[in-house]
């Protein structure tokens, strides 16, 4: 079979740039990153219910659960605290990490949804490398989760949840960034493994609540160890525990030197696995003839 050429417009010069221009400059990479973060921010602002529920959830734990359990659960003095602290103060880092956990899972839920409806295609046909695009999407999710945490801290301030000095609001930022990255990468990895949107919600129940309860978010680990060494072991290898402890110490302007390398390790593993596993073909076009 031969192709016959029509007489069309005059041939134009070869549109391919010289080989030296085939890559993107660092400035262009930054523009792409900015674009992805900006769009994620715009979408989040438009979804007011999501913002409100992201705030209401931890606030309910803070105002109701913590207040109720204040008398039941005594917290002895453990680092980074130097005095007895109220239970609300103790669970605040866990609630900050909870915001990031939900955000990480919700971002990946929306990635699964976007993958099924086709919106991810806009991102994935970009000529930038796929690992960069997925990384940018992840960073955008982390940025949104950090904004949510600060909104929570603003309200919590009126509930006497505050760092020892105002610098705590700044020193907690790197911990939030790392925690958000770790949980977001975990969410992305999960979204790669899920074939269909309908299955995703079920997986959430097997991920979010076990992660939250089997951690140091609600009770110090030494207490858990007293009642169940096995549960203590599970809590100490739970990545969420390390996110909580990182945040707890950072809010008090200290570094948890155990949780930091663990969180870094988990983040690296989840990130690499998520990028390798991400397959836009899964769930998309598979049910449709073409």
């Amino acid at each position: 079979m031969t192709m016959s050429r029509t007489s069309g417009p005059a041939p134009h010069p070869d549109p391919l740039p010289a080989s030296g221009e085939r890559g993107f400059t660092p400035r262009q990479y930054l523009i792409c990153l900015w674009g992805v973060v900006w769009r994620e921010g715009l979408r989040f602002l438009h979804q007011r219910e999501r913002f409100v529920s992201a705030l209401v959830r931890p606030l309910v734990w803070l105002f109701i659960f913590a207040a109720g359990f204040r008398q039941v659960l005594g917290v002895s003095i453990i680092p980074p605290y130097e005095t007895y602290v109220l239970y609300e103060v103790y669970i605040a880092p866990g609630l900050m990490a909870m915001i990031q956990l939900f955000n990480g899972m919700q971002s990946s839920l929306s990635m699964v949804y976007d993958r099924e409806t086709g919106n991810m295609r806009t991102l994935l046909v970009s000529p930038f490398p796929r690992w960069f695009l997925l990384g940018a999407k992840l960073l955008a999710g982390v940025a949104v989760s950090i904004l949510q945490v600060y909104a929570f801290l603003l309200i919590a301030y009126f509930w006497e949840i505050e760092p020892p000095t105002k610098w705590g609001y700044l020193t907690v930022l790197p911990a939030l960034a790392l925690g958000g990255l770790m949980l977001g990468a975990l969410g992305m990895l999960l979204s790669s493994l899920i074939k269909q949107l309908e299955n995703f919600a079920g997986v959430m129940n097997f991920v979010i609540f076990p992660m939250f309860f089997a951690s140091s978010a609600l009770y110090p680990l030494w207490r858990v160890k007293e009642s169940s060494p096995l549960l203590y072991y599970v809590c100490s290898i739970n990545p969420f525990t390390h996110a909580v402890e990182l945040i707890r110490f950072a809010f008090y302007q200290q570094v948890d030197w155990v949780s930091l390398p663990v969180a870094l390790g988990y983040t690296s593993v989840f990130l690499v696995a998520a990028i390798i596993a991400y397959d836009p073909a899964r769930g998309m076009l598979m049910r449709k003839g073409g």
């Binding site: 192709m3 992805v36 979408r43 806009t122 490398p129 073909a281 076009l285 449709k288 073409g290």
Partner: protein, 253 residues
């Protein structure tokens, strides 16, 4: 002269099912090429491979000489795509959608706005730049998608059944708009469809059926070679009249 799109011995399977079988054809720069096939022929699979959504493991896909698997950045920056499914963000305004797309191609917001306004003017939607995308009609959204796909000035535009869901008037407008781009801007276009009436005699046609290319060439030449009345009849003959499904019949005649 280098082909805008060159597909060579491309095959792809979903598990046991072979969706594309040794597909080869080319799209010349500045030409309007129609990929004609029924639903299930493999058109959307082909699209997904050309746009690197799926990895092409068997065969070669080159866009202006850059291989999609080996040099994806160079290949994809030469390509504009309009998918069959709507991919505009309905909650954002037209201009916001355009700026986002431009950023994904390394174009900063100022330049993106300038190009975006020009593109919207060409599409007759400049005054709606700040309107939310969900307020547009189907035909208008399609025109915005085309404007968006061309923001980074690619020389090859792929459109996957772009007129699906549009009324007769909107379909005709869209087709004429894209043919105008081929004529005025030397754009190479690959237009996939199952609708025969979108094809003109001078168009290059690639007939895809059950994942195989059964014919390529100028529409008028294919009709003549098969002693058919029109391209629809030629298609039926080439693919085998008894392979026409009732659904196809509605699309073809």
């Amino acid at each position: 002269m280098i082909d805008a799109l060159s597909i060579s011995h491309l095959s792809h399977s979903y598990g046991q099912r072979k969706a594309l079988d040794d597909v080869s054809f080319a799209v010349a720069p500045g030409s309007f090429t129609v990929l004609l096939g029924l639903n299930g022929a493999g058109k959307s699979t082909l699209f997904s491979l050309v746009t690197r959504l799926y990895a092409a493991r068997n065969g070669e896909i080159d866009i202006f000489g850059a291989n999609v698997m080996r040099e994806p950045g160079a290949a994809l920056r030469r390509l504009g795509v309009v998918f069959q499914a709507r991919t505009l963000d309905l909650e954002l305004s037209l201009m916001q959608n355009l700026v986002y797309h431009a950023a994904l191609h390394g174009i900063g917001p100022l330049e993106a706005r300038r190009r975006g306004m020009e593109a919207l003017k060409r599409a007759g939607l400049a005054e709606r730049a700040n309107d939310k995308t969900r307020t547009l009609s189907g035909g208008q959204m399609r025109r915005v998608e085309i404007a968006r796909a061309l923001l980074h000035e690619p020389k090859l535009l792929l459109l996957d059944e772009p007129t699906v869901g549009l009324d007769i008037r909107a379909r005709a407008d869209l087709l004429s708009h894209v043919r105008g781009l081929v004529r005025d801007e030397a754009l190479g276009v690959l237009w996939t469809t199952h609708l025969i009436d979108e094809i003109e005699n001078d168009d290059q046609v690639v007939i895809l059926h059950h994942g195989k290319v059964l014919a390529t060439g100028r529409a008028a030449d294919i009709v003549a070679e098969n002693n058919a009345e029109n391209i629809g009849a030629a298609f039926a003959q080439i693919t085998g009249a008894d392979s026409l499904s009732p659904q196809a019949g509605r699309g073809l005649w």
